[in-house]
């Protein structure tokens, strides 16, 4: 299966950089998934969770507040204001769940988005 490169960058540094099989992003107009060979796209990202499936079949989740993504056939570059990795590189759940919730709270998102995201985060927590 083909893979593509994904980079998630915040003003505080690089959050994720690696080869992926698939990524699901919280777009402004709804969640969307991206596979390798995707057509060029620039999109606004809302607060939410980025779901990454890495090349070696691990699932990584990153909570973000808002940002942009530029997608090409073989790479995706994601620029966000704030991000917290919810799962570590090896796929285990890190203890950043509270930090992620705070991040989203500070982003002042609408209550429905918030509930949606919190639900997602808590689902991982279990």
């Amino acid at each position: 299966m083909k893979t593509m490169k994904l980079e998630i960058v915040t003003p505080g540094g690089v959050i994720y950089h690696g080869d992926i099989k698939q990524v699901t992003l919280p777009g402004e107009q709804g969640e969307f998934g991206v596979l390798p060979e995707h057509a060029s796209l620039v999109s606004l990202l809302d607060a939410g969770v980025i779901d990454i499936e890495t090349a070696d079949n691990k699932e990584i989740l990153v909570a973000i507040n808002s940002g942009y993504i530029k997608i090409d056939e073989n790479k995706a570059l994601c620029i966000v204001d704030g991000a917290v990795a919810l799962t570590d590189e090896d796929g285990s759940i890190s203890d950043n769940i509270q930090a992620a919730k705070d991040l989203l709270k500070s982003a002042e998102v609408s209550s429905t988005t918030m509930a949606n995201v919190v639900g997602k985060i808590e689902a991982i927590g279990r």
């Binding site: 960058v9 003003p11 060029s40 999109s43 530029k70 056939e73 570059l77 620029i79």
Partner: protein, 294 residues
């Protein structure tokens, strides 16, 4: 013969200066470490957002899409150019400020030769006072931003220029600052902020498909993205400049301390010689006094 007291006083004064310069060097190196950390953190983000913007610009130009956005339209013959430049608030940092001013002057002459009107937007006391002294008008000046850059204030500053650009009052914005390379080198950085320069991107990296935007009323998305980019370019220029300023000052103060040390050495030799001379004269006087008593 030089007066002994006088030489002694001079040595004291030079030693005092040396103490000051050494202290300034230490302060600068502490500040440099802090700023360097900050610069390294935001460097990746600055580089990536620039990459993203240039990527978009080159995709747009390659596919000849009529992306109706002011930020990506290359002006063939700009009539008004805004130069944003960053200098320090304080001196005593070698050629740091004068290098930036020199570059700005060079740009002024270059554009003047092409009959282009240049408007200056100044950050930092040193640059402001230089252009004030030379009676060159500045459109915008801010004097306490370069010593303590914050994202909000940097954004507010550049946004004024961007508003003008959107309104059509200016055709091009250039950012000039003296950037940090390493502890002993600073380098002038000149960046064309808008319109976004697509030629800077290698052609083979450009994607083959047409660019799609979402949400697709391109004005909101691209405008927000470009504004964000410009704010960050400005903020990063300020941090980079601050790091360069501290490293330049460190160097200048280091050199001053060494010079002071050399001077103390020279003066000490002079002092010893003078002292010896005085003793010899005194001895001769005593001896000749004794001789005459015989």
């Amino acid at each position: 013969m030089a007066n002994l007291k006088e030489i002694q006083r001079k040595i004291g004064s030079v030693k005092n200066t040396q103490k000051t310069t050494r202290a300034m060097k230490l302060v600068s190196s502490a500040k440099l470490n802090r700023t360097k950390e900050l610069a390294e953190q935001s460097k990746v983000y600055a580089a990536k957002i620039t990459e993203m913007i240039q990527d978009i610009a080159s995709t747009v130009s390659k596919h000849g899409e009529s992306l109706d956005n002011v930020f990506f339209k290359e002006m063939k013959n700009p009539k008004v150019v805004d130069i944003v430049f960053v200098t320090a608030d304080k001196g005593l940092c070698g050629g740091f400020n004068s290098q930036t001013i020199k570059r700005v002057n060079f740009l002024l002459e270059k554009y003047a030769a092409d009959n282009v009107k240049v408007r200056l937007r100044a950050i930092g006391k040193k640059g402001i006072s230089y252009f004030k002294f030379n009676q060159i008008d500045m459109l915008q000046e801010i004097s306490d931003l370069s010593a303590a850059p914050t994202y909000e204030r940097a954004a507010a500053f550049i946004n004024e220029a961007v508003e003008d650009y959107i309104k059509g009052a200016t055709d091009k914005i250039i950012v000039v600052h003296n950037g940090y390379v390493n502890m002993i080198t600073q380098e002038i950085q000149e960046e064309q902020a808008v319109p976004v320069d697509a030629s800077a991107m290698a052609a083979d990296v450009v994607s083959t498909s047409e660019l799609e935007l979402e949400p697709d009323d391109d004005d909101t998305l691209l405008e927000a993205l470009v504004k964000r980019y410009l704010e960050y370019v400005m903020y990063y220029a300020l941090i980079d400049s601050l790091a360069a300023e501290h490293s330049a000052r460190m160097q200048a103060m280091e050199a001053a301390t060494t010079n002071a040390k050399e001077m103390v050495d020279k003066l000490s030799v002079q002092y010893n010689k003078a002292r010896q001379e005085a003793i010899t004269t005194e001895l001769i006087e005593i001896i000749s006094g004794v001789e005459s008593m015989k």
